[in-house]
Point group: C2
């Protein structure tokens, strides 16, 4: 992780990821530190030649090819700017020049074979260099032994030895001590001859004692609790690196697929909250076990966890009744960041372990949004930037260095494949990209892991609808175009039209995979929620501040936001019509925010300060809401003038 606060971004394609480069790092390290798993046999030693990348832009800023590249790459490859990720880095003498430049001057292409198969589990995010200053530190101390002339009790001897050793704690007498830790001190102290390791929390509390020198074993875990997906990042707090990542579907899905249905479940069932709470906590404990097994450590080696999640996920995780979030005026129980004991929420890490839960903003806009703001640093951008966290619940942020505003939009879960007839999650066999030949309406598609097609995931649905528009199969209002209804791929099912994406003889379950009229309506509602939400938020800002700001840049965050074809997202009118170069897919920015708070405790203070700065807007009560939403239901919008760059629409009928 980055200890040097330089701010050089590199764009990676085709994954549309923008990563922050840390001084001294090579590209292989940059990728793996950001959670992007890359194929390599030698682990970055420059001997296997597997980590080939191509520099598409800004080659002049990189170091010259090394001896190992000259051996492992052909002269033609070197001429075409192919490099080995582990051998290439930004040249020392270019760093100060690059720091002053915007937008990113370097673009690197990652060939498909470089990326490890399960990359589709989005666990990585934009890595803005965060310096290492964890809230939990370990200190090794050799404690004075007692004798009849020095009959000082155990804890007090520990504190005396600590104060003579360590400069960072001014008054060790004021150090608090976790009761669980105190109870085991007498035994621990005598186990390795009065040599112990102290786990220090927030520089003011001892939360654990261990026998001997255990300074090297200091881990934290950052959790992103999504409505649909849970991710845990196991991080070594001594070097700031992500040691392992594990994810799982949120088992609460069994009780309701979105936040509203889960609130309803809590309301309607006496033990509803407890069930949902146990479900998620158990799943997080499984993730802890998995990440620890991968990293070959014990769950008890984890001293702290950080957590992001939307307001409802936050409340249920904490066993706090979420029903008032679901009722007007939609207030959570608490918004401040919370410092808790892991045992109070049954998280199975170290016995004295701590949990930091990032603050909520208001209503449904939760800690995940704070995570997005922290990791994307939208609050430092000079241009007005729209950040969209595309998940089951949609949150939008509009901001720059002068202002921050946020709102929630009920995007629904169409974008994650729910409510769509052949929709499915981004798992093996899901169609994730689609092309339609406008001449004969034949369809080309790819599936995750190249398995036989089973259904369509979110990015595939957006592609399908965009391509159906381009081929004029549907009109701008989302209805099937009468002109094509006799085509063999368009069938009528119970009075409604459907378009066949994959014929049954090619699919895994021998049934047609289709996009129905209803599916298109679901997508329209979802994309309209985002677009009108952003517009209403912008109008609100301009009205209350008497400004005329415009959106100049877009950050697409979230698992789904990372995989969609951003051109098609723009084509269907989900996001404003701005140049592709200004649309960044920033990955799991919420999860990255949780990681950053684990790595640097100062970000928790920043999160608190952000709360005061953020303007929360309830867009559903904006007077223009109904009209804006209705107009945004059209592809790309009722008013084509808002999308001047989408020339294809000239030939697509409105109805």
């Amino acid at each position: 992780m980055n200890n040097n606060n330089i701010k050089i971004t590199i764009n990676f394609e085709p994954i549309s990821r923008r990563l922050y480069y840390a001084k001294g790092e090579n590209i292989y390290q940059l990728l793996t530190n950001s959670g992007i798993r890359v194929r390599s046999l030698c682990g970055g030693l420059g001997t296997c030649g597997k980590c080939k990348i191509m520099v598409q832009k800004g080659n002049k800023y990189l170091n010259s090819p090394t001896d190992s590249e000259k051996t492992l790459l052909t002269p033609t490859e070197i001429n075409e700017n192919w490099r080995l990720a582990c051998q290439s880095r930004i040249a020392e003498n270019q760093i100060s020049l690059l720091e002053t430049q915007q937008p990113p001057q370097i673009r690197i292409f990652l060939p498909q074979e470089l990326l490890v198969e399960d990359f589709k589990i989005l666990t990585s995010g934009l890595n803005k260099g965060v310096s290492l200053n964890p809230n939990v530190k370990k200190l090794f101390v050799e404690v004075n032994k007692p004798n009849l002339d020095y009959p000082v009790p155990d804890l007090e001897r520990v504190l005396i030895s600590l104060s003579s050793k360590n400069g960072i704690i001014k008054n060790t007498n004021k150090l608090l001590v976790e009761f669980e830790a105190l109870k085991k001190l007498p035994k621990i102290l005598r186990e390795e001859n009065h040599r112990i390791t102290i786990t220090l929390y927030n520089n003011n509390k001892i939360i654990d004692f261990e026998a001997g020198n255990k300074v090297n074993i200091n881990y934290g875990i950052a959790f992103d609790i999504g409505t649909t997906t849970l991710v845990g990042y196991l991080i070594n707090l001594n070097d700031g690196k992500v040691y392992s990542v594990a994810s799982a579907l949120n088992p609460q899905t069994a009780y309701g697929e979105d936040v509203i249905t889960r609130i309803t479940y809590v309301k309607d069932n006496e033990d509803g909250l407890l069930k949902l709470n146990s479900a998620v906590v158990d799943a997080l404990n499984d993730i802890i076990k998995k990440t620890c097994a991968k990293a070959k450590i014990k769950p008890s080696d984890i001293c702290e966890a950080t957590v992001v999640g939307n307001s409802v996920m936050h409340h249920i995780f904490l066993n706090i009744d979420p029903i008032y979030i679901g009722l007007s005026p939609y207030v959570p129980a608490v918004k401040r960041g919370l410092n808790l004991n892991s045992k109070d929420i049954n998280l199975k890490i170290s016995r004295g372990g701590k949990v930091y839960v990032l603050p909520l903003i208001a209503g449904f806009v939760g800690a995940d949004t704070i995570g997005v703001i922290l990791s994307s640093e939208i609050d430092k951008e000079s241009e007005l930037t729209l950040a969209i966290d595309v998940g089951t619940n949609g949150e939008i942020v509009l901001g720059n260095k002068d202002l921050l505003a946020t709102a929630s939009c009920a995007a629904g879960s169409a974008l994650e494949g729910a409510h769509v007839k052949d929709g499915m999650r981004a798992a093996a066999g899901a169609i994730d990209s689609i092309k339609i030949n406008p001449d004969d309406l034949t369809v080309e598609y790819t599936t995750i892991n190249n398995k036989k097609s089973l259904g369509i995931c979110g990015s595939g649905i957006i592609d399908a609808v965009a391509e159906m528009l381009k081929a004029k199969i549907i009109t701008r209002s989302g209805s099937f175009n009468k002109q094509f209804i006799d085509h063999e791929r368009i069938v009528k099912n119970d009075k409604n039209f459907e378009f066949i994406i994959v014929k049954k003889d090619e699919t895994a379950n021998k049934r047609d995979i289709i996009i129905s009229q209803k599916d298109i309506r679901e997508l329209q509602m979802a994309k309209a929620a985002f677009f009108s939400g952003a517009r209403l938020l912008l109008n609100h800002i301009n009205r209350t501040r008497s400004t005329k700001l415009e959106i100049k840049q877009i950050f697409l965050a979230g698992a789904f936001g990372n995989y969609i074809n951003k051109n098609n997202a723009k084509f269907i009118g989900m996001i404003p019509d701005i140049s592709d170069e200004k649309i960044y897919q920033i990955g799991n920015a919420a999860g990255m925010g949780a990681q950053n708070c684990l790595l640097n405790t100062n970000l928790r203070k920043k999160a608190s300060k952000l709360l005061k700065k953020i303007d929360y807007v309830e867009i559903a009560i904006e007077k223009d809401f109904q009209r804006q939403y209705a107009e945004a239901m059209y592809f790309p919008h009722h008013n084509l003038e808002l999308f001047p760059n989408l020339k294809e629409y000239k030939n697509i009928p409105k109805r």
Copy 2:
């Protein structure tokens, strides 16, 4: 309780109690506020005439008899300075005069019929006026309701309402909130229309929320965990009064009667610590239930507990291994005062309840001794004062306003009736005072509750031995005097002599109640431990400070210390030979220390500061230890010059 820091003491006889008078209080209030239960039918209204007392000294400082006294007392009674406790107080115009006087100018006699029967359960202590400033406060707040223009989360609205209402908390945003409390906030807030009561801990943490106005219900409980006895004092934190008291034998006694045998039990049994811990915690929970039932409140109405106990009782109560206290160099795990959550130690009070455990000093000298110092204010005395806490474990403190030193003495439990053939605890049927006629060796005695005699309690044993000395039945070396061995009350049992205190036809169990040679040896060891301990401590102080201080005053603390005949305690040489007027029986001073810490949180800071000031002396390693101890085995001492006032010893043979 006393809110006015005046310092007027009144001596009460025959209970030898010195109480501090608070301005405006009448004598009835002074007694009941100090935990001394007094008979009254009208509850202090001056109508029943039952609370008669006699002013033996200093009548001129009191108010004149009131109309109700003139009605309810005879003219003779009024002439003899009989008063009604509820009608008599120190006259306003005498207060400033009295404050400058020392020693106490007022002595009041309490007739036996005034004292409520179960007075023998010593639960009261010296009440030095402590002003009311509890660590737990309750605040009633009407919280603003949310709406779509004010969509502020619950906790943040509570804090806003609190800050506008209450001046004592400067920055409510910095208030911590107990997680258990936070979880119930949404429901509580809406239960009585956004009117709630906040329980505030240490002015920096909210530990509970309740619906409606519950400001009146604010209780704390102070525990004294003795090796043998447990006492709990339920105190209303709004008025500082003791509402009820309950006591019980420490059930750990089943596993070992003193601290050493209990440490051995922990060492020898894998689940030993857990067993002893559960035993005491369960017993304290019973005491909680009992005190609450008496006061008609619920255990959950108690927000805080304070705890004193010797080092071993302290560790076992906290489930901390005590074995290193029992091994040289005798170090506890911790000495600082501890602030804990009640649920972490399974104390069944309010869910978010807190527990403050007073600090230990060193070795066996524990929180009980800090309690004694705090409540007796020995650190404010101008004369060098010896405080002895007479319990199963003996601690001594030597101090005045300039110095404080403390030591532990292995007094054993003879003084509590253990190891004594017919010894028993101070329960109904125990012989608690004895007179021997030197002419015919007949014995007069009293028993607790006037029941048929069953055995002898500690004060009876001291009386018996002192009287046996005065009647020359035994010599100064503790052996039976050959001169009397043919007397019918002296019998030989298995080669050892015994003196019959009560003949079998008068006892409850139809067996002689006797004092044996071995019993006398047990008492000698106990009294020698105290006397030599005090002497060694004094010598240590004088040597290390190059002073020649002498003990001028004695405080006898502890259940047992309160009931003994102080003249006889001096006669056997348990305490130094100073004038009776300077020997104060200060009651359960340790328990009073716990109460005072509950009433005024500043005393906790004082306890911390005391730790730095107190000189802990390991008297067993003082070079003179063996000789001092051996010399103190004699009655009253090998060296009679140390007891110049005990003229009777001239005629008592040494061997």
